[in-house]
Amino acid sequence: MVTATADARAVAETVTDPELPMLTLADLGVLRDVTAEDGRVVVTITPTYSGCPAMDAMRADLVRALRAAGHEEVEVRTVLHPPWSTDWISAAGRRRLAEAGIAPPGAAPRRGEGPIPLRLGPTVRAVRCPRCGSADTEETSAFGATACRALRRCRACLEPFEHVKEI
């Protein structure tokens, strides 16, 4: 059964994110587990954000890919804990984001026990422009075309670009 699990995992790891198609769900850290036993595959995924509208598409894509590879019985489970973090995006995923013009996230904020600190000023992050490589960039909005992306612009080449914001 180890072979069936490995095979199912290899197939599931090829499925890409519907909104960031340069990334696989595995690169994104959304694919949490794949097991195969007695002809039945169980895939576990976790949502990036509570309102992520792509979860249904991800489930359907996983089922479709696994069935096409001969795994007839597929169940996709959701797991909420621990909550998804951008720290789970793989090194390969970060490279592919940058190649697609989207700046990858830095380290997610570490939160201890106390109240979460308020950020009143513009957030200063070392985000490099994915086009020209300059570190002289600024955030124009913490919210972008999808829940996980912020909008930035480069002060060196003046191009706007997207950034996967840290959570």
Partner: protein, 288 residues
């Protein structure tokens, strides 16, 4: 594959290709939804509905800013904040349906309950107002909800705890967004200062209610499932003081609106629900 028209091409591969879905799956599909044996199921369900109702009605008011925000980036930001809250609503409603044993889903709770069955705080109800009203209300709401969700992370209900832990990451961004606007506008021009202060003055009578415990909240706080909202007050005050000082705004000195406890409503809720529920009620068997 070839199709006669674009619509067919979109649907030909199955409805799930639609990013917004048709026939939404249970947002907690495959989550272990066992309710711990010593947790009061009726109280847990009522509590999840309260927290879900807060998020749903606030999300609806935020969505009204689509096509009405001062710039495109702000419209996108408010839509994203509304979407996060809608996602929290969906999971909380699903949890309520497990806990009360009825198996009701998100559509049952959102579309087929009357105003008096909603347990949201009144803060989220008033019409959207101007941008000063929005900034004031979002600042108050997100500051309160962030403090609440963070204290729910150790909840003895593991599903509620997991929903809260996800929500904390999201609402931290919402609170910063509102706080940064408050500073920009409060410490901006005379006009922006005046209108942001006016928004704060209008919202403030509804602040007291946020910290007045409902009996369900009291019982669940005692059993380690929920949070006593009175315990959030110190953090709320500290954050608001920090923002108001930087924004050169003053804390309003106005009496609380009478009758303030979860489940009493303003006159704005019924028209809001009439709009939100109209399509579902006109086509009760429809799926989308």
């Amino acid at each position: 594959m070839s199709f006669d028209n674009v619509y067919e091409a979109l649907t030909g591969d199955g409805d799930a290709r639609w990013a917004f879905g048709t026939g939404f799956a249970d947002p907690l599909a495959g989550v272990d939804t066992t309710v711990p044996p010593d947790v009061d199921r009726a109280d847990l369900a009522a509590y999840c509905l309260m927290l879900g109702d807060d998020a749903l009605i606030m999300s609806h008011r935020l969505q009204e800013w689509c096509t009405n925000a001062p710039d495109l980036e702000e419209e996108v930001a408010l839509a994203n904040i509304g979407l996060d809250l809608l996602g929290q609503t969906r999971m909380l409603y699903a949890r309520a349906g497990h806990a009360d044993g009825t198996g009701r889903g998100e559509d049952d709770y959102a579309y087929f309950r009357a105003p008096e069955e909603f347990g949201n705080v009144r803060l989220v109800e008033p019409p959207r107002g101007d941008f000063g009203d929005l900034v004031a209300r979002l600042l108050v709401f997100a500051t309160w909800r962030l403090a609440l969700l963070q204290r729910l992370i150790p909840s003895r209900d593991p599903v509620l705890a997991a929903i809260a832990a996800k929500g904390v990451k999201e609402v931290a961004y919402h609170r910063d967004h509102a706080a940064q606007w408050a500073v920009r506008l409060g410490d901006g021009t005379d006009e922006s200062h005046r209108r942001t202060q006016a928004g704060l003055d209008r919202v403030w009578p509804l602040v007291e209610e946020l910290f007045a415990p409902h009996e369900v909240e009291e019982r669940l706080a005692r059993s380690g499932v929920g949070v006593d909202p009175a315990a959030l007050r110190a953090e709320f005050d500290a954050v608001l003081d920090q923002v108001l000082k930087a924004a050169t705004l003053r804390r309003p000195d106005v009496p609380p609106a009478p009758g303030g406890r979860r489940g009493s409503h303003t006159e704005a809720l019924a028209p809001l629900l009439a709009e939100l529920q109209s399509v579902a009620r006109a086509h009760p068997e429809a799926t989308w």
